[in-house]
């Protein structure tokens, strides 16, 4: 087992990883930028090194500085957390070249699953349903191709990404016009007019499955997480299990995740994301080859430590749990992301000093955060302050406890999304468990 691990990240996730390291008796090394001298992850680590200026490109995204920090501190492995370099195959390869273990999948797996089209090919090979569409670019027969998929459809630019250049066509009559518009838009934006069609799933649920697979090929999958409460593709609330998934469907989702991991010969912990329509058909969306922000809900209901499993796998050891053990769960968990944002002002980021920080506690509460009273938020990084994870013996109990925990949570000095979460918890739609990805738009209207 490793003796010392460097964490190439900051804030709450760096602290989350360190907690497991401490429990495993492994020394931790923190890296930090000049803007993060007073950040809690620097204090919690056994050692800490300054790797660059505030701007992430020259610190937390600076591959040579991080590799150098690992070498000079004698770290044997690097945990990338989420974001920053966690899904960067160049970084993962640079670790290997320098004899440092990257705690995550191989550069090849990151690359293969990181590209939407190659990930989709693997999904198809693994027998996982994908959204119907013309995977290749459409031809002159585009009307026929659209009819085969069935309206509504999405027109997407082949060279596009991040939701850019997407058009939704609801009926046949609009297709000709929209097709030419999309194509000319794509030509001017990406210098490539190729487009493809995909079935448009209106207000789906976002359901994802956590899986883990070790170097011996043993794979496990955990109960699904439901992350349908999103604003502009940013998840706000996540829960597990999903109120919309039956035990039978759960088994199918877990089977799909394991099949995908096996097909890609994936070694590590990962998540496969699905879109689920009203008829409970699920379609492959993408794979995240890293630990996710919302991993604590899974840990809470399955009583596992996913970071520990990541480290075991990276050290070449066996997973510590069986398939049956990973799928078994107890009760219900909900995570609320507390961001430094003023939701009454269109979610404008809020900066300043934390004047007061009174955190909720008591039974069934977990709070992952790097906040403390007097901490001055740097403006350079993301706005997430804390993750409040609430466990209850069932969903209703978890909601009742959430209401209690959110009322205990008092922060002043900056604006937060705590009151937004109170609104979510009180909404009949959330309480009924019938939300979809259009929920936030309806709530804020």
């Amino acid at each position: 087992m490793f003796k010392k691990i460097l964490i190439a990240n900051r804030g709450e996730i760096a602290i989350r990883v360190m907690r497991t390291l401490k429990e495993m008796g492994i020394k931790s090394v923190a890296v930090y930028s000049e803007a993060d001298r007073s950040c809690l992850h620097v204090r919690e680590a056994d050692e800490a090194v300054c790797i660059g200026p505030a701007i992430a490109k020259e610190s937390y995204l600076n591959i040579s500085a991080i590799i150098s920090a690992a070498k000079v501190t004698g770290s044997e492995a690097i945990h990338p957390g989420y974001g920053f370099l966690s899904e960067n195959p160049v970084f993962s390869a640079a670790c290997a070249e320098n004899g440092i273990v990257f705690i995550g999948p191989s550069p090849k797996a990151i690359e293969m699953l990181g590209h939407k089209s190659s990930a989709r090919k693997i999904a198809v090979k693994g027998g996982i349903p994908v959204t119907p569409g013309t995977r290749d670019c459409v031809t002159k027969d585009f009307l026929k191709e659209a009819e085969q998929i069935g309206f509504p459809i999405m027109i997407k630019a082949a060279a596009g990404g991040g939701g850019k250049g997407i058009r939704i066509v609801r009926e046949k009559g609009q297709l000709d016009h929209e097709f030419h518009m999309a194509s000319s838009e794509a030509r001017s934006a990406f210098n490539n007019g190729d487009v493809y069609f995909e079935k448009y799933i209106e207000n789906p649920r976002h359901v994802e499955v956590q899986f883990a697979r070790d170097s011996k090929g043993a794979a496990v999958a955990f109960p699904e997480r439901d992350c349908s409460i999103q604003r502009r593709h940013q998840k706000l609330v996540e829960e597990s299990p999903s109120p919309a998934v039956s035990q039978k469907l759960r088994a199918k989702l877990e089977e799909a995740a394991i099949s995908l991991a096996d097909t890609a010969d994936y070694v590590g912990v990962g998540t496969v994301e699905f879109l689920m329509d009203r008829e409970k058909n699920f379609y492959f969306m993408e794979v995240n080859t890293r630990l996710q922000v919302e991993h604590p809900v899974t840990e809470t209901i399955t009583r596992t430590d996913l970071v520990r499993e990541q480290i075991l796998i990276a050290a070449g050891e066996k997973l510590s749990l069986s398939r049956a053990r990973a799928s078994a769960f107890d009760g219900h968990a909900i995570e609320y992301r507390i961001n430094a944002e003023d939701f009454s002002k269109n979610f404008a980021p809020s900066v300043g000093r934390i004047e007061e920080w009174i955190a909720p506690g008591g039974p069934g509460i977990r709070l992952d955060t790097h906040m403390y009273q007097g901490y001055k938020l740097p403006i350079y990084y993301d706005s997430m302050l804390a993750k409040l994870i609430v466990w209850g013996s069932d969903r209703a109990a978890a909601i009742a406890r959430s209401r209690r925990a959110l009322s205990e949570f008092k922060v002043s000095g900056i604006s937060t999304t705590i009151n937004l979460h109170k609104m979510i918890v009180e909404s009949p739609e959330f309480q009924a468990g019938t939300v979809d990805t259009g929920f936030m738009e309806r709530l804020l209207k």
């Binding site: 090194v49 790797i51 740097p378």
Partner: protein, 125 residues
């Protein structure tokens, strides 16, 4: 821009890490600088200037195979190479930011240095 808006921006800047902001609108351009450093409790002031490490890595007074003649008290010119920081097989030069007298050498050859760590102190001339 009116004084009221200016003072509001300045006040807001003081609550952030921002040190400088430039605002342009047509031909109008306004630059604001805020002194965010905490109040000093002593009257001590010094003109001596630290030379910060450009990177995390291992400090060397000279590149491999080269000798150096750095000594405390000697004169250095602005832009002179005072040493290098070895980072992932790459050498980042440590350059003197000013001309002056090399007052203090606060680093040893082969030592691990962090980004921003003061390696030398130079008195301007």
């Amino acid at each position: 821009m009116d004084v009221k808006t200016l003072s509001r921006i300045t006040k807001w800047m003081e609550s952030t890490d921002l040190e400088e902001i430039t605002w342009k609108n047509g031909g109008e351009k306004i630059s604001l600088k805020v002194n965010n450093s905490p109040e000093s409790h002593s009257k001590f002031s010094s003109t001596i200037e630290p030379v910060a490490s450009p990177s995390i890595g291992i400090f060397r007074f000279a590149r491999p195979g080269k000798a150096h003649n750095l000594k405390e008290g000697m004169a250095v010119k602005k832009g002179a190479e005072l040493g290098v920081v070895e980072v992932a097989k790459d050498f980042r030069p440590v350059l003197s930011p000013i001309s002056g007298c090399l007052k203090i050498i606060s680093v040893e050859d082969g030592k691990i240095v962090e980004y921003g760590q003061p390696l030398f102190f130079i008195e301007p001339r």
